[in-house]
C-alpha cells in the first residue's frame, strides 16, 4: 500500500492523493455495480443449479418409449407416493386428488387422477405447477402425461378428471421411500381475459356471462 502522504510537497501530496482517491472510487464503484448484477445473475444460476440437483422440486417429462426403457430395468421395489393439491387464492376452483396416497412399483408407469371444479359462472384458465419433495427425488420422478403440461380451461361450473401418468426411476436413491407430488393451480389472468374477449367477438349479441355459459370449449 502506498502512503501518498510521504511526498514532501503539500500541494503535490494533495494532487496525488486526489488521483489515488479517484482511482479507488472507480474500482469500488465497479465492484458495487458488479455485485448488483450478481444479485440478478443469481436467478439464472439458481435455476441451473436446481435443474442439476433437483432442489427446486421440478418434475421431468419423458416419452412413453423412455418410460418403457426404464420399466425394463426395474426390479421389485415399492415406494409410497402421496398426492397433494393446492389452489392459489386468486383462482376460484376446487382441486383435489382422487387418491391421497398410493403404493407405486418403481420403474412402472402408473396413472392417477385429480379432480378440478370451476365453482364460478365464468370460464377460467388455470395452470398447475408441480413440485416433488424431497427435492432430490424430483430428479427420478418423470411424467408421460400431465395436466400441468398445458393451461387448462374450465367452463362455468365444469368439473374435469385430470390424469397424471408417471414413472419413478429405478435409480431412485435407496434412502428415499416416500415421495410427495404436489400441485398448485394458479389463475392465468391474461389467458382468461383473452378467452372472454374471444367469446364476445363470436357472440356479439350476448352479454359476457351468457357467452361463457354457452361456450362449448376449444
Amino acid at each position: 500500500m502506498s502512503t501518498p502522504a510521504s511526498d514532501p510537497n503539500p500541494s503535490d501530496r494533495a494532487d496525488t492523493q486526489q488521483a489515488a482517491n479517484r482511482r479507488l472510487i472507480r474500482r469500488l464503484l465497479v465492484v458495487t455495480v458488479l455485485m448488483f448484477g450478481f444479485g440478478f445473475a443469481l436467478w439464472p444460476l439458481y435455476n441451473v443449479f436446481c435443474a442439476i440437483t433437483g432442489l427446486g422440486g421440478r418434475t421431468g417429462q419423458v416419452t412413453n418409449e423412455e418410460a418403457n426403457a426404464q420399466a425394463l430395468v426395474g426390479d421389485e421395489r415399492w415406494v409410497t407416493v402421496t398426492f397433494d393439491a393446492n389452489v392459489d387464492v386468486k383462482l376460484p376452483w376446487r382441486f383435489q386428488p382422487y387418491e391421497k396416497t398410493m403404493q407405486v412399483k418403481v420403474g412402472e408407469l402408473t396413472e392417477t387422477h385429480y379432480l378440478a371444479v370451476n365453482t364460478t359462472d365464468q370460464s377460467i384458465v388455470g395452470q398447475a405447477v408441480p413440485s416433488v419433495a424431497p427435492g432430490e427425488a424430483s430428479l427420478y420422478f418423470n411424467k408421460t402425461e400431465c395436466f400441468c403440461f398445458s393451461e387448462q380451461v374450465l367452463e362455468a361450473q365444469q368439473s374435469r378428471d385430470m390424469p397424471v401418468r408417471f414413472i419413478v426411476d429405478p435409480e431412485l436413491p435407496h434412502d428415499i421411500n416416500t415421495l410427495t407430488l404436489s400441485y398448485t393451480f394458479y389463475l392465468q389472468g391474461d389467458a382468461t381475459a383473452e378467452l372472454h374477449q374471444h367469446d364476445h367477438e363470436h357472440h356479439p349479441h350476448q352479454n359476457q356471462d351468457d357467452a361463457s355459459a354457452s361456450h362449448t370449449g376449444p
Binding site: N47, D88, L187
Partner: protein
C-alpha cells in the same frame, strides 16, 4: 472533490447551515450519532408496543396487523437506522483521528451519505400512516407474503434502496480514507483495531448491499410490473429470494458486529493498561470471519428442504466461525489477564459485551446444529439469540464507545455515577428481557405472533417487565449524553489514563480541524505501536 485541507485554518460555521452543508468529518459523525440515537428511541418505542401486547396472552392493545408492522419496522429501524448509522458515525469521528488524517477522503460524498438517511427513514416510517399500512411480513420481506403488501410497499423498497446507497457511499469513503489518508508511518499493521474492523466491514458493505438492492428490486417488479422472479405461477421460486436475501443477510450480521469488536478491542487495553494481546491474530480473525460470512447463508433456512449434503456443509461452515470468534474472546480475556484494571463505564460496557455476546454466540452455535434447528427455527429462541448478539453485542459496544469517546467529542467528562448506574440497570434488565425468551423458544413459542397459548404467559410477562425497565433505562443514556454536551468536568486531551492512540494526542474537545499537517508517530503513544 476536495480532499486534503491545505488551506488556512478556519472555525466551525454557525447556525443550521453548519450541519446541512457540512463536509467536516466530526460534524457529520455527530449528525450520524444523533440520528442513530433518535432511531434507537423510535425503534425502542416499537419494541415497547410489542412487549406490551405480549405482556399477557390474548389480544389486548393493538390489532394483529399493527403488531406485525411493529415487529417488521422495529427490525428495519434498529438495523438500518440505529446500529449501522451509529457505526458509521463512530467511523466518521474516529477513523481520521486514529490514522492522523485531516478529514475523510471524500467529504462532499460524506455529506450526501448522511443526508439521504433522514429522507429514507421519513419515507419508511410514513408507510405506517398510508393505506395498507407499513410492511408487516417481517424485515426479511419473504415472498409470497411480502408481495401481498399494499401499494405502500413501493415506498419501503425505495427507502431500502436509499439506505443501501447511503451505506455504500459511506463504505467507499471509509476505504478511501483508510487506504489513502494515513499519516506517514501509519502502516496497515499499526492501525488501531477499530480502523481494521471498519475496513473489513466496508468491504462487506460494498459486496452485499448491492445484492440486497437487487433482491428488493426483484420484489418491486414482481409486485408491480408482473415479473415472476419469486412467483411460482410464472415459473419463479420464492425460496430463491431467501437464498439471495441471506447472501446479503449473513454478511450484514457481521457488518453489525465487526466494528463492535473493534471498539471493544480499543477499550479493554485502555482500562487493563496493557497492550492488546494478539493484535495480528485479531486482524486475521476479523478477516476470516468476514470471509466465512459469505458461505454460511443457508443456515438461516435449513427448514426449506435442502439435501443432507447442503445442510451438513452449511452446518460445519457455520461452526467454523466459532474458531476466529473464539480467538477474539480469548485475546480480550488475555489482555485483561494481570492487567491493572479499573472499571469505568466504557470498560463495564465492554466487559458486559464480552460476557453477553459470548452467550449469544453460544446460542448461535446451538442454532447451527441442523437437527436442533428444526426445533428452534422461527421460535423465540432465535429472537433471544439475535438480541443477545445485537443488543448486548452491537448496542453495548456502541454505548461503550460513546462513553469512551464522549470526552473527546464534547470536551466534558460524563457523570461517572450515572454512567455506571446506566450500565448496571441495562445489564440486569436486558437479561430479564431476553434470557426467558430462550425458554419460550425451546418450549415452542413462535416469533412474530401477537398472541400465544397460556403456558407461555409467565416467561412473557417477565420478559415484558425486563423490556419496559431496559427501555426506560435508555432514556437515562439520552439524559447523560445531553448533560455531557452541555457541560461537566473538563476533559483532558488524554481523557483516560491508559488510553493510547492518535485521537488522544489532540485536545478535548477535538478542534474543528485536526492533523492538517500529518502527525509524527511516536510508538509509545500508539495502541499497537512497534513491530509485529
Amino acid at each position: 472533490m476536495s480532499t486534503a485541507h491545505t488551506h488556512e485554518h478556519h472555525e466551525a460555521p454557525k447556525g443550521l447551515g453548519r450541519w446541512v452543508f457540512s463536509t467536516n468529518h466530526k460534524d457529520i459523525g455527530t449528525l450520524y450519532l444523533l440520528f442513530s440515537l433518535l432511531m434507537f428511541i423510535v425503534g425502542g418505542a416499537m419494541a415497547m408496543v410489542i412487549r406490551l401486547e405480549l405482556f399477557q396472552p390474548g389480544l389486548q392493545f393493538v390489532h394483529p396487523e399493527f403488531f406485525n408492522q411493529m415487529t417488521t419496522m422495529h427490525a428495519l429501524v434498529m438495523i438500518f437506522g440505529a446500529v449501522m448509522p451509529a457505526f458509521v458515525g463512530l467511523a466518521n469521528w474516529m477513523i481520521p483521528l486514529m490514522i492522523g488524517a485531516p478529514d475523510m477522503a471524500l467529504p462532499r460524498m460524506n455529506n450526501w451519505s448522511f443526508w439521504i438517511l433522514p429522507f429514507a427513514f421519513a419515507m419508511l416510517l410514513s408507510t405506517l400512516f398510508m393505506d395498507g399500512g407499513g410492511p408487516a411480513g417481517g424485515w426479511t420481506l419473504y415472498p409470497p407474503l411480502s408481495l401481498q403488501s399494499g401499494n405502500s410497499f413501493a415506498f419501503v423498497i425505495f427507502a431500502i434502496h436509499l439506505m443501501g446507497i447511503s451505506s455504500i457511499m459511506g463504505a467507499i469513503n471509509v476505504i478511501a480514507t483508510i487506504l489513502n489518508m494515513r499519516a506517514p508511518g501509519m502502516t496497515l499493521l499499526r492501525m488501531p483495531l477499530f480502523v481494521w474492523t471498519w475496513l473489513i466491514t466496508a468491504f462487506l458493505l460494498i459486496a452485499v448491499m448491492p445484492v440486497l438492492a437487487g433482491a428488493v428490486t426483484m420484489l418491486l417488479t414482481d409486485r408491480f410490473f408482473d415479473t415472476s422472479f419469486f412467483n411460482a405461477a410464472g415459473g419463479g421460486d420464492p425460496v430463491m429470494f431467501q437464498h439471495i436475501f441471506w447472501f446479503f443477510g449473513h454478511p450484514e450480521v457481521y457488518i453489525m458486529i465487526l466494528p463492535a469488536f473493534g471498539i471493544v478491542s480499543e477499550i479493554i487495553p485502555a482500562f487493563a493498561r496493557k497492550p492488546l494481546f494478539g493484535y495480528a491474530s485479531m486482524v486475521y480473525a476479523s478477516a476470516s470471519i468476514a470471509f466465512l460470512s459469505f458461505i454460511v447463508w443457508a443456515h438461516h433456512m435449513f427448514t426449506v428442504g435442502m439435501p443432507l449434503g447442503g445442510e451438513l456443509f452449511f452446518m460445519y461452515a457455520t461452526m467454523v466461525i466459532a474458531v476466529p470468534t473464539g480467538v477474539k474472546v480469548f485475546n480480550w480475556v488475555s489482555t485483561m489477564w494481570r492487567g491493572a484494571m479499573t472499571f469505568e463505564t466504557p470498560m463495564l460496557f465492554a466487559l458486559g459485551f464480552v460476557v453477553l455476546f459470548t452467550i449469544g454466540g453460544f446460542s448461535g452455535l446451538m442454532l447451527a446444529i441442523v437437527p436442533a434447528d428444526f426445533q428452534y427455527h422461527d421460535t423465540y429462541f432465535v429472537v433471544a439469540h439475535f438480541h443477545y448478539v445485537l443488543v448486548t453485542g452491537a448496542v453495548f459496544a456502541i454505548m461503550a464507545g460513546a462513553y469512551y469517546w464522549l470526552p473527546k467529542w464534547t470536551g466534558h467528562m460524563y457523570n461517572e455515577k450515572l454512567g455506571k448506574f446506566h450500565f448496571w440497570w441495562s445489564a440486569i434488565w436486558v437479561n430479564v428481557l431476553f434470557f426467558p425468551q430462550h425458554y419460550l423458544g425451546l418450549a415452542g413459542m413462535p416469533r412474530r405472533i401477537p398472541d400465544y397459548s397460556v403456558q407461555f404467559a409467565d416467561f412473557n410477562m417477565i420478559s415484558s417487565i425486563g423490556g419496559f425497565a431496559f427501555g426506560v433505562g435508555q432514556l437515562l443514556f439520552v439524559y447523560i449524553v445531553i448533560k455531557t454536551i452541555r457541560g461537566g468536568e473538563k476533559a483532558e486531551a488524554r481523557s483516560w489514563e491508559g488510553a493510547k492512540g492518535l485521537e488522544w494526542t489532540v485536545p478535548s474537545p477535538a478542534p474543528h480541524h485536526t492533523f492538517d499537517t500529518p502527525p509524527e508517530l511516536d510508538d509509545s503513544q500508539l495502541a499497537h505501536g512497534g513491530g509485529h
